[in-house]
């Protein structure tokens, strides 16, 4: 699902309010609207489906406790991206995750033939080598389609720092993959 798809799952305006009032069905609607985004951020960062789901679940449980502070659907999206990113960084600092090697990786790759599959796995492996902030900045850019200013806001860093993380991360990937800029 791309960042443009959410229209299929647009929720009524009062879903936030009803979820904040304790309506679990409404909260379930919110989860289903945003679960792919949250899970994907964690998955693209950690490359571990079990840990990614655990983080995604924790994010929504935290959301449930914080719903009263969420003002708009846009605020909700921002909040989810930020909290998921923070939890990914916390998780990486615990050192409880592992490198997935080319042999071990098993994932669904969209529209890939065999030669593509190797390249995709190689690129995933290289992404895992990036420092956490660079990896998150690149995820926000390419998964979520955010502009650098939005990336800075989500990751709570100045615009220039966000741009720098993007630039350095992409430069490192190009160097490791032997790709000319």
């Amino acid at each position: 699902m791309s960042a443009a798809a959410p229209l299929l799952f647009a929720v009524p305006d009062d879903t936030l309010q009803r979820a904040a009032a304790g309506d679990h069905e409404s909260f379930g609607t919110l989860i289903r609207e945003h679960q792919d985004m949250v899970f994907s951020i964690a998955w693209n960062f950690l490359h571990d489906r079990d840990r990614a789901e655990e983080i995604a679940q924790e994010v929504f449980l935290q959301l449930y406790r914080t719903l009263g502070e969420i003002e708009t659907p846009q605020h909700l999206t921002f909040w989810l991206r930020r909290v998921t990113s923070n939890r990914c960084i916390d998780e990486s600092r615990r050192g409880r995750w592992r490198i997935v090697t080319l042999d071990e990786a098993s994932e669904v790759v969209h529209d890939a033939d065999e030669t593509d599959l190797f390249l995709v796995k190689k690129l995933r492996q290289m992404l895992q080598r990036l420092p956490a902030q660079q990896r998150l900045a690149i995820t926000m850019r390419y998964q979520e389609g955010l502009e650098p200013s939005e990336i800075g806001a989500v990751l709570d860093m100045p615009l220039n720092t966000a741009k720098s993380h993007l630039r350095r991360g992409l430069a490192a990937l190009r160097e490791w993959l032997g790709v000319k800029s």
């Binding site: 989860i31 899970f39 969209h110 850019r141």
Partner: protein
């Protein structure tokens, strides 16, 4: 290889595991564990210091003071890591150049 194109492809959103929402809701239904608040001596000292500061600053709550310090500290930590990344990368350039000499 077009890196931009490949990154869009590799980092495309993927579906959450089946039944994800139900599992989250199931956890919500579980009885919450009782919260125990334990204040260590250092926590009490920090709170006391924050209260004194609050009286002096006339308005900021203890929570705001502690939160401000945490935000500043995290920002400083991120800047430090950025600086060390940059410095070590440049050192490595020099090392590689010397190694190839």
């Amino acid at each position: 290889m077009n890196l931009d194109h490949e990154l869009h492809r590799v980092l495309e959103r993927t579906s959450a595991p089946e039944g994800f929402a139900d599992r989250v809701l199931a956890r919500l239904e579980q009885k919450p564990k009782p919260q125990r608040h334990r204040f260590t001596a250092s926590t009490l000292r920090r709170i006391a210091a924050a209260v004194i500061l609050t009286a002096g600053l006339g308005g900021l709550t203890a929570h705001q003071i502690i939160e401000h310090r945490r935000i500043e500290g995290e920002r400083a930590r991120r800047e430090l890591m950025t600086a060390l990344h940059i410095a070590s990368a440049k050192m490595r350039v020099a090392q590689r150049a010397v190694a190839h000499d």
